[in-house]
């Protein structure tokens, strides 16, 4: 059986759910960020697979053949910005709490 769009979409769904599981279960804040990166990658796989397989010639904006890949580039850029700010926050939390377990940081919890 040839590999088609559905294979890539299901693989991305699996990767997204693994990332979600990591985000929900890790106590370490860096572990939570790792789960987030996995979820970003799942979304990017989806977009590149769409740009390869979906016939967009009848859709609005469909004449731009590079649309999916350009979206992926922007998402990678935003993911880099997110990782930088997130890790700066982790360093800041570590300095103030002597630990980075997210369940112990409850300063703003009502």
């Amino acid at each position: 059986m040839m590999v088609g769009l559905i294979h890539y979409l299901i693989l991305a769904a699996i990767l997204f759910c693994i990332g979600l599981f990591g985000v929900l279960t890790r106590r370490n804040a860096i572990g939570v960020l790792m789960g987030l990166e996995l979820m970003f990658n799942a979304v990017n796989i989806n977009l590149v697979a769409f740009s390869r397989y979906i016939n967009m010639s009848n859709l609005p904006g469909g004449q731009i053949a590079t649309l999916g890949q350009i979206f992926t580039i922007f998402i990678i850029t935003i993911a880099a910005a997110e990782a930088v700010v997130g890790l700066a926050l982790v360093i800041c939390i570590y300095r103030n709490f002597r630990g980075i377990n997210v369940d112990e940081v409850n300063l703003m919890k009502w």
Binding site: L24, R26, N41, R52
Partner: protein
């Protein structure tokens, strides 16, 4: 045929190393498996004829983000403490939620009628021309976002002067 074999190899690599990333006790080892996942995703992009995205994936994810994460792991000491639990108490609920979401997503993917057609993958020069013409404004805005994130990270992580 070649694409099929490569797809299954990379899919196996991605899934196994992603599971190890979220399950490893030692957060440093989890970071190393995260790098392996990123490399697998880069290989997957090559099977989709997206060579430029694959290169960007290796440069930015493997070269920058993963190394940044490993640096953050090394800067925050005391996380090798074996007496502390690596996961919180909501493991069962999280597992159920993830599996339900996965089943729902697979059902939706199967039920949707995809208008597929083999599009020619865009070349790198087409990508560059579109990025500089049709997407020039988003391109500039995203560079401002990067600058803002850089400055914000410096301000947040700096030691407060007393």
């Amino acid at each position: 045929m070649k694409q099929t074999i490569l797809f299954y190899i990379f899919a196996l690599l991605i899934i196994v190393s992603a599971i190890l990333t979220v399950r490893m006790r030692n957060i440093f080892h989890a970071g190393l498996f995260l790098i392996l996942t990123f490399v697998g995703v880069a290989g997957l992009y090559i099977t989709l004829d997206a060579e430029f995205i694959a290169g960007v994936q290796v440069l930015i994810y493997v070269g920058a983000i993963a190394i940044l994460i490993l640096f953050a792991v090394m800067l925050t000491q005391g996380i090798y403490d074996k007496t502390q639990a690596a996961t919180n108490k909501q493991q069962f609920g999280a597992l159920v939620l993830s599996v339900i979401l996965l089943v729902l997503l697979v059902l939706i993917i199967m039920a949707t009628e995809w208008i597929t057609g083999n599009q020619a993958a865009p070349s790198i020069s087409e990508l560059a021309i579109d990025l500089m013409r049709k997407f020039a404004l988003p391109f500039e805005i995203v560079s401002v976002v990067l600058l803002a994130a850089l400055l914000g990270a410096v301000v947040i992580a700096r030691k407060e002067e007393k």
